[in-house]
């Protein structure tokens, strides 16, 4: 069964460093998302992406964040200068249609630890 994959599974970085989290969505999906989950808290929407551009972003997704689909398969989230509060699980998701009438498929997540 197709699945969303994410790398790395765990990333440790120093405050102020740049990190890139990588995702490979399901191949026939057209809509891509990043969510984050701080330990013990809710899954929070960060950004949605369609047709090579951001379709929506939350207030969390400030100028320190960016997303890219550099080729036909990868979808990346970059944090330019990490802060301690960026420590969280980051989940990539994808679906066929961008509306909420179909499920989103989530990856296993990348645990980001900022020291």
């Amino acid at each position: 069964e197709p699945e969303v994959t994410q790398t790395p599974s765990h990333q440790v970085t120093q405050m102020g460093q740049e990190v890139i989290l990588r995702c490979v969505p399901i191949s026939n999906h057209l809509y891509f998302y990043w969510y984050r989950q701080i330990l013990g808290q809710k899954v929070e929407f960060l950004v949605s992406f369609y047709n090579n551009e951001i379709s929506e972003k939350s207030e969390i997704f400030d100028d320190q964040f960016s997303v890219e689909r550099p080729d036909g398969s990868n979808f990346t989230l970059k944090i330019r200068s990490t802060k301690l509060e960026d420590s969280a699980m980051y989940f990539c998701a994808s679906n066929i249609r961008g509306s909420a009438d179909n499920e989103q498929f989530f990856g296993p997540g990348t645990r980001l630890t900022v020291l």
Binding site: K42, V43, S55, E56, F91, A100, D101, F106, R111
Partner: protein, 111 residues
């Protein structure tokens, strides 16, 4: 502001019994409501989707109801098994195509 509330207390239940979870929302008029399962350290896994014009949806031992008047969804796991132990998340369509999640309810099924 929009709010989604799920019972934050863990639900302990005996194997074979029915677990019932609640999702309440305010300041929303969602067309769709979804339920996901999340195991520790893993990503959410889709379980069921229900539309605003549907009162009830079933999938195997799972049942979801959606009452747009009460602004509430109930999620039932019948004949619960220890393997059903997980956190269950309610998610609503917000503006655009994003999902907004509740805080989840942890279910522990004891043998």
């Amino acid at each position: 502001s929009q709010k989604i509330e799920q019972n934050s207390e863990a639900l302990n239940i005996q194997e074979g019994k029915t677990a019932t979870l609640t999702c309440n929302y305010t300041n929303y008029s969602p067309a769709y409501l979804q339920w996901y399962r999340q195991d520790p350290g893993r990503g959410p896994v889709f379980l069921l989707l229900i539309r605003e014009n549907e009162k009830e949806k079933r999938k195997e031992r799972l049942k979801v109801t959606f009452d747009t008047t009460l602004k509430q969804s109930l999620f039932h796991i019948t004949a619960s098994q220890p393997a059903d132990s997980a956190t269950y998340l309610c998610a609503l369509e917000a503006a655009g195509n994003k999902l907004t999640f509740g805080g989840g309810t942890r279910v522990l099924v004891k043998p």
